[in-house]
Symmetry: C2
Subunit: 527 residues, 2 copies
């Protein structure tokens, strides 16, 4: 890919947003007391002098932040990357390393027909049309060139002959890193940046975004030597951003207080797959200085996870592929089923959380025939780790989870009657009404019986800072770009709408992170 070309196309998308005002002069306030230019808030604590100055200051060291840093540096800007945690990489480095690309060379080789339009459509359908179409279009259109860029420019290694089809994608379109981990992308990003002289400053926490009277973001206040999560640890310093600040601080999956404001069901009882630093300080700060945070209540929660392992782990294989499809889920407190086990993730996670918040516990249940559907080896691993347990009788299951025996036996018997009385080619159940049951569904009567405990886990924040296609953060008062402020990745909202498809987060971070870094580097400097 030619940098020349990508610069040219970026220039197009800077367009009207590029109207940058320089200058230190404070604005003369209109005598009629009208709002300052840009309709924005004004920060009375603007430093008289700055401890340090860079062209582009980047907050966060995940896919998006590092992509922004790389583009900004290549464009000749001086760059600093700030990371509050003691290690770089955020959630990206523990991500699954699957990246969607529509119309890729690998698809061509494998005879798969695809297009950016089809990818955009898949994203919009999953997103219930809450997605901003211009952002979806841009990311889909740039997906293949961006994956190829990770190969040619960063040296990322993907599996040669395999594409993944994540749920909700119409075709196989996602490249898979050789080690099934985002680290296969983050580590080369870090290495390339290091070669250019840019290393993330760790334990550096942003306490304040300075937005001046002219509406422009001018720099940050930070705490150097910050020990997460001690709010007053480290030493206060100021950093001037001559061209722009890029917010790539990620989501708030681990921030119980903030997520409960957005969705009160997400209490402390609900865990998260995220790294502990996925907290909301920058969400609040971005709001405070006039960003427009949209769709913050759309928080992706996996319903099929287990409290007995970290992250999403392996439990979803059992809970989904055996217990949802060929078994049942139960409220262990009552011994009854509580939800269509084949309803969408959100419906199921919501139902479990509402029960949990009443003190109930939920389990996934399958019999020997149901687990025979699992990929060989998975059940063994799950039993060894204690995530799935086996029992020889239904009574033993009831007793192990404190379920009322009679109610549980009645629940299983009723389900079995439903299945037994229906056409085997078209099995029917009075709870799983919304979806066709898989052929081969049979009564749950073959010991041993298997159980995993269910604990929803917060995974991804779909909402965030509203940006345009130039990755500029938009002002909530004026709907115009905030000068000097860019945002990308999970910190932003509007790309994924209601539901983010698997493998679309990484490409979002890379495409929009690169745009943010490149556009910030090209912006006119102030001061």
């Amino acid at each position: 890919m030619s940098d020349e070309k990508s610069n040219l196309s970026r220039r197009g998308f800077l367009g009207a947003g590029g109207a940058i005002m320089g200058g230190l002069a404070l604005t003369q306030l209109p005598l009629d007391g009208a709002a300052p230019k840009g309709g924005t808030v004004v920060d009375s604590t603007m430093p008289r002098k700055w401890d340090e100055t860079f062209d582009v200051v980047i907050v966060g060291s995940g896919f998006a932040g590092l992509a922004a840093a790389y583009e900004a540096k290549k464009a000749g800007a001086s760059v600093v990357v700030l990371e509050k945690m003691p290690t770089a990489g955020g959630n990206s480095i523990i991500n699954g390393g699957i990246v969607s690309a529509a119309g890729s060379p690998l698809q061509a080789r494998m005879g798969i027909k695809d297009s950016p339009e089809l990818m955009a459509k898949d994203m919009m359908v999953a997103g219930l049309g809450l997605n901003h179409p211009d952002l979806v279009k841009l990311i889909s259109e740039k997906s293949t060139e961006t994956v190829l860029w990770t190969i040619s420019e960063l040296g990322v290694k993907y599996l040669d002959n395999e594409l993944v089809q994540e749920g909700g994608h119409t075709v196989k379109r996602s490249y898979k890193t050789y080690n099934s981990s985002g680290s296969a992308i983050v580590l080369p990003q870090l290495a390339k940046l290091k070669a250019l002289g840019v290393e993330p400053r760790l334990e550096t926490f942003v306490t304040r975004i300075y937005r001046d009277k002219d509406g422009r973001v001018k720099g940050l206040q930070i705490r150097e030597g910050y020990e997460f999560p001690k709010a007053d640890s480290g030493k206060l310093k100021t950093i001037r951003a001559r061209k722009g600040v890029v917010l790539a601080h990620g989501g708030f999956g681990q921030d119980v207080a903030y997520r409960m404001i957005q969705d009160p069901k997400l209490t402390a009882k609900v865990e998260s797959t995220n790294q502990p630093g996925a907290t909301a300080e920058m969400w609040r700060e971005a709001s405070r200085i006039g960003c427009n945070i949209i769709q913050g209540d759309w928080i992706q929660v996996g319903p099929w996870a287990s409290p007995d392992e970290k992250g999403f782990g392996l439990a979803p294989h059992f809970a989904q592929e055996a217990a949802s499809m060929y078994g049942i889920w139960l409220d262990a407190t009552t011994g009854k089923r509580f939800i269509d086990e084949l309803a969408n993730r959100k419906i199921r996670a919501d139902a479990i959380m509402m029960l949990m918040n009443q003190g109930h516990k939920c389990i996934a249940f399958a019999d020997a025939k149901a687990v025979s559907r699992l990929t060989p080896g998975v059940l063994d691993k799950l039993q060894k780790s204690g995530v799935v347990k086996a029992y020889n009788t239904l009574e033993a299951v009831a007793d192990a989870y404190g379920m009322p025996r009679a109610a549980f036996l009645e629940t299983v018997a009723k389900y079995n009657t439903n299945i037994r009385n229906s056409d085997p080619k078209n099995p029917k159940d009075d709870i799983k009404v919304s979806t066709r049951l898989p052929e081969g569904t049979v009564p749950l009567e073959t010991a041993p019986f298997y159980v995993s405990r269910l604990l929803p886990k917060v995974h991804h924040c779909m909402g965030g800072i509203y940006t345009n296609t130039a990755a500029q953060a938009m002002d909530v008062s004026t709907d115009k770009p905030i000068e000097g402020l860019y945002a990308a990745g999970e910190a932003t909202g509007g790309v994924h709408g209601a539901v983010r498809l698997g493998s679309c987060a990484v490409i979002d971070c890379l495409v929009m992170g690169r745009a943010a870094g490149s556009n910030a580097a090209k912006a006119k400097a102030w001061g």
Copy 2:
């Protein structure tokens, strides 16, 4: 009002120093650079003197604003109500006038068992648990006393022997005003306030909320003689709020630009049932000064409305009770069905909007047997108003709406085959899979055939300013109440969650409006 005092307080403000009003002096930065008290934004345009002063300044003259004004005035405060439109009452005065009350005397008389807990549960189920439980609890618990207060204190007249059971409510619990209109509440509110010397100031538009360095809201900038929607009409003035500002400015159903940021499907093609003044200026301004706007993307849209009448009108009777239940909905551009006609409102409205935004048109279709299910008289009215039209043949239907004949005939034939081949007691269709079809569903083959055009209409904004149970607006940075700022009604978020139940908006407005007015009147004055 003492100018002396306001100057003094401004001196304090200057001391620690913002770049102030008209001044060019550079800010004296606190040495540690810490955020100002309350972690909030600072407004550099604070007036040096105020044109007027009141204890409590209320924005909006709907149910909530007027309830706040009444309580504040009764508590001895000086009160002003500001309304940007030329008439008072906002959406409330054109509302349906149905008010939920759990455990009411009328329920007791009618032998209906109910409780605040049951009402809260109904609201939470509809709200998908996005509702803030403390707000729901408060409103449910105060519902009966508040309805009785409208009778005893305001003289509101309800039907004596009738309670309404709106969708999603477990029991009949809603009082119905004698004239089926919110005007039966708003007009007595206005009359009582007038007797107390408070009359809404019409054509008075709020351009700015002044929030000071100490984090407190101190007053408003307004335009007097404002001509909606001319941004620069009227004369700028300032009003000091010694005790509090109450934001009761309602939703943004008519604001295409703002609603498309929240949900890009809600383009200009989608209409609204709201009065034209339901625009978002105060939503933006509340964000700007540090309110936390939550769940703004949950916007209630009725899928069954028609472009051929105003508001929701009568079309929903035909489109829902005849065409959804016993007929089909079609994409007229293709002649095909496009959605489970019995799916929930959101799913159906989303599907229609996504098609509309591709330039397609949708219709609701039923035959003579299907419309025989309607309440007598309704079809006549709909035909007289031209909202529903009748045709003697399927071909005539296709031609009237520009549908491809062959595709339409095939769609109807396929539906009819489905119904004909299934058990009449358990009719089946391959699109309406998620719900049991009503018994009595029969093939669509009896002329005349009836059609209404489908146009989703925006009705209610579930999201808004995050408040506590004292109706105080919460600061996005600190999660603490913003001193001097209260909010109530549709301007707030978190009460209704994903879906507001019918008859729950009015009680929300009244309960929280009263709390806001009463608490503002009790607050300590500044200046």
